[in-house]
Symmetry: C2
Subunit: 234 residues, 2 copies
Amino acid sequence: MTPGPIDQARAIVLLSGGLDSATCLAAARSEGRQCTALSVSYGQRHEVELDAARALAAEAGAEHVIISVDLGAIGGSALTGDGAVPHEPTAPESGIPITYVPARNTVLLSLALGLAEVRDASEVWIGVNAVDYSGYPDCRPEFIAAFQGVVDVATRATAAEGRHITLRTPLLNLSKAEIISLGVRLGVDYGRTLSCYDPIADRACGTCDACRIRLAGFADAGLTDPAPYATPNP
Amino acid sequence: MTPGPIDQARAIVLLSGGLDSATCLAAARSEGRQCTALSVSYGQRHEVELDAARALAAEAGAEHVIISVDLGAIGGSALTGDGAVPHEPTAPESGIPITYVPARNTVLLSLALGLAEVRDASEVWIGVNAVDYSGYPDCRPEFIAAFQGVVDVATRATAAEGRHITLRTPLLNLSKAEIISLGVRLGVDYGRTLSCYDPIADRACGTCDACRIRLAGFADAGLTDPAPYATPNP
């Protein structure tokens, strides 16, 4: 008996609308996955990145599910309304920055797990990256391994139906330049992505941590970022 | 040096407004915890249980935080709008019932974890119960142990600040009758709690699985349920 067509497996792909998640979606598609993109509207100050996610999902021909969760009720992050997003570089020794959203990836993966169960998906893809990241604890390999432990026991799919759901993190150990090179190879239109923590109208600010890391990544890859910025030559 | 007053520790207590979570809140208070009650409005068909949670938190003098998350966008459960809640007993051999909400406790604990971090809480209490439960996979001890593994690595508190957050599950191995006896001893006003999956106006139906388990628990404890039911002598 020949193995079944595993490349037709259904995957839930967390899609914020940023560079990393757009690359993650392209990676899942390049492996032949039937993708459902999941965006979580968690009280971000700006809905612009959800618009980017909508455009990316449509371009990929993927089903797009948006779940709203009011993380602003928890507070504690510049990204959900507590304090201003810094526009000066954050020194590495200063630790986890105020753009950290408490338990964000735990919440995102929980919602993706629920959707995976309902959609009979066998994989959940998340574009976390432990190299050129901002020091967030929930982007590290040990976090992903621990959450896989939850996935293995938490759902009807795994507990009663013997199905297995696997977390996929294709960007985990790539530098930002390597992520961009991979995405370009896979045809990602980075002009449609938005990584900025504090966009001005619908353009990236060019000066927050996320913009700095992104722009340095394009420079390291020997490429120019096609996304619109609010400042010329950021 | 004497140890600090650990009984003054802050705790996040998940409070649905049902019998189990009300007992859990009373247990946390009986250990001297400063409690923040967290209710998650997850697209339940009925908001009556949130009203019960508000009343219980107010009576306990606890801060009450409500977070909205649209689990209805995931679907797959009678409790978020897909299909009717059954009013006949569900046979144990029929497996996990359609009132199961995909990844529900994973989502609830994720949100509680984020709030614990922001509130400097050292504990998260959840009233899961693996004895007289409805066969939900995320009420089992192995689920709690796996989620503790996530807690240990997921947050700024645990990763950078060396704080420890512990999941507390005082009801895990109690029968429903034992939970009720504990709650009565701790002064829980069960007349204010609502466990029903499908209340009629603001009264419990008396015939869904949750009502059946609850009523059997009161009978086993030799007590009468003080909560209002839509049907006389359910």
